[in-house]
Symmetry: C2
Subunit: 229 residues, 2 copies
């Protein structure tokens, strides 16, 4: 018998996104469960799980807290109808690709756009100035870049959080060895490294920094040896 | 023979993150290529590919533009050392999990925190007020939420862009059928739907909206039928 502890609000409303993950995962598996609503001030109900947050799943002798651990447990204990299907193999990379383009590259651009003008080839410079000033709404590149770095570094680092969470658990985004998801993000970081090498994007204590060092080592130090300004 | 057109800056600097993806993918495959630098004002060099941007890959009789298409081409034409390995199967979901938690949920919270207080159970209300006001730095929940909605809706929609890009290509984040990545994001959207049902988070023209409709239909309309305020 499975029991799920689900955060409840007034009138039996159940908004918790993390509890929803667990409920949807149970449904996907076709598993029935006993619903145990729990309010903010009833944490004693889940003390047995050594948890102060929900969802908590009680499955036979197994007690599982945290929605991610619950999903892993369900796929292991009930292998039918996998929550983590193998197909398509490129789906993960596709998501990382969209994430890098839409959520990361845009946080870097304002911090390096001034240097981009500086390192353009003489014959390309007016093209770069015209196209980039249109994007940033000014031709004062140096001032714009300086102010962007003051405000933007924290935003950039926050944008890396999804990668950081995976890299705390494994050496590469793709697991034990690098694959295309790693190349996507590494390519993104080689861009500021090439044109703005003095910009310290990552802190040494950051797992993304450590991962980047591993990426620098790949292919005979291809990224590390690449010319930079 | 493979030729790669790579954006060049002065002093042969090569910063383009998209070209880096292609170069790293070629290296991963152990493939040699002829390097063809191209400046911003030399787009005639890639006119044969019907492209105005790089990378462009010329591989025998095949002409491929766009870094993603290049990665797919390389994995298809040279199946050894896959860029998209199948293992671990949970990696994609793990990334989506971190992305939802770190980049999406935080954009929703300020827009619903006032309603969260309203729909708390009477016995939980002071707990919710105390813990949530600490997070937002004020006890003026209604005013805070109103202002957050004015500023925050665009930020929230922008944060969904990685999902949007995949959902333009396939019905679910996981492919033809839903799996855990879909439940993660759907759970996130059921949270505001439950406590702030009048808040129009998504526009009807958005593929995320259409996907959410499909998710509402799952499991006998479980999400659609869930009580909301």
């Amino acid at each position: 018998m499975i029991t799920l502890y689900d955060l409840t609000f007034d009138k039996d409303l159940r908004p918790s996104p993390y509890c929803w993950r667990a409920k949807l995962a149970l449904k996907h598996k076709g598993l029935a469960w006993r619903d145990e609503p729990i309010g903010f001030t009833e944490k004693q109900k889940i003390a047995f799980a050594d948890s102060t947050t929900v969802p908590v799943l009680h499955d036979g002798s197994k007690v599982v807290k945290d929605s991610w651990a619950i999903a892993l447990h369900l796929d292991q204990a009930y292998p039918d109808k996998p929550l983590f299907p193998n197909d398509p193999a490129w789906a993960y990379a596709r998501f990382v690709n969209g994430w890098a383009d839409a959520s990361v590259n845009g946080t870097i651009f304002p911090m390096v756009v001034g240097d981009m003008v500086e390192v353009a080839r003489p014959q390309d410079r007016s093209y770069v100035i015209e196209s980039r000033s249109k994007r940033i709404g000014t031709t004062e590149f140096a001032a714009f870049q300086k102010s962007a770095r003051e405000k933007g570094l924290a935003t950039f680092r926050a944008a890396l959080e999804p990668a950081r969470r995976i890299l705390k658990e494994q050496p590469f985004l793709s697991g034990a060895t690098p694959a295309y998801p790693d190349y996507i993000l590494f390519g993104t970081l080689l861009w500021p490294r090439t044109i703005s090498p003095k910009l310290d994007l990552l802190e040494k204590e950051d797992v993304v920094y450590t991962w980047r060092e591993r990426m620098f080592d790949l292919f005979d130090g291809m990224g590390r040896k690449a010319p930079h300004a």
